[in-house]
Subunit: 166 residues, 2 copies
């Protein structure tokens, strides 16, 4: 846990940007920097909750995605597309989940290129337990006023849409 600072480093950077004649980009810089730091903070909180359960957020997301799917199973590619991560990240996550007995690789019935990832009973149980913890300890109290949460999600949705997230 790093020490607190007597000032907001993002605001300070924004001031420096203006001083250096980069005023046009100062707001964008502040937005990008804020986003990076906020993500780091929130991710740390999430990981702290999940660590005792033996999973990471990346793997938790895979488990929940499978839990929400019709047959509790999805192709690797679909997982990557939904979570918006590189195929190798999916391979990595599934390797570890499979080693922990939380998911199982299965051959696709018609396409031999495809690997299906199926949720095991243990995987579902862990996903639900983890969700309960996250809901009470993080999602239910994200540290942002309710109105702001709605605004935040909306603004970020616009950004994500422009970037091709959906």
């Amino acid at each position: 846990m790093p020490a607190s600072l007597p000032f907001d480093p993002v605001a300070e950077a924004r001031r420096q940007w203006t001083v250096h004649g980069w005023g046009d980009a100062a707001d964008g810089m502040a937005a990008v920097t804020s986003l990076m730091r906020a993500q780091q903070i929130v991710l740390a909180r999430v990981e702290a909750v999940l660590r005792p359960l033996g999973v990471t957020f990346a793997r938790y997301e895979v488990l929940m995605l499978l839990h929400f799917s019709r047959a509790d199973a999805l192709p690797m590619t679909v997982i990557g597309a939904r979570l918006q991560v590189h195929p190798t990240s999916v391979t990595n996550a599934v390797d570890r989940l499979e080693a922990a007995g939380l998911v199982q690789r299965q051959p696709h019935p018609t396409d031999r290129r495809t690997t299906l990832v199926a949720l095991t009973d243990g995987g579902r149980a862990l996903a639900l337990a983890a969700t309960e913890h996250l809901n009470t300890e993080v999602f239910g109290a994200p540290g942002i006023p309710a109105d702001d949460v709605t605004a935040l999600v909306g603004v970020l949705a616009g950004l994500r849409r422009d970037a091709g997230d959906f």
Copy 2:
């Protein structure tokens, strides 16, 4: 570049949360998930701009921090506190920056525990060149309306303050 989806995965997750009786935490979950994805998108854009210059965003932040300091030099600890990262991350970044000749470790005049990191001429030149690229290609056009940028920075500042970022 992952493929586009026919729907917003965050909105879909939010719907699933509601269906499963976790409505109280649905907004928070959506906020956290949006934050993660948006950060990933923005970071990828930043890294794409910096890659041709041979630096990463983490190292660029160190260079700019030094550039904004009075003597173009700061102790490792101060860098970690400002950037809100673990001491070992600072060591890692400075190792690579020093190997590239962009910064230089110097002994502290009075405290022999402390290591000062000093910006070299090459480091300053690279930092300014990188800033120019980032300002025009990312910060100047962050993909968010100007009004929303202000709101976003404000909301995230609240979150960061609560987390002890400043």
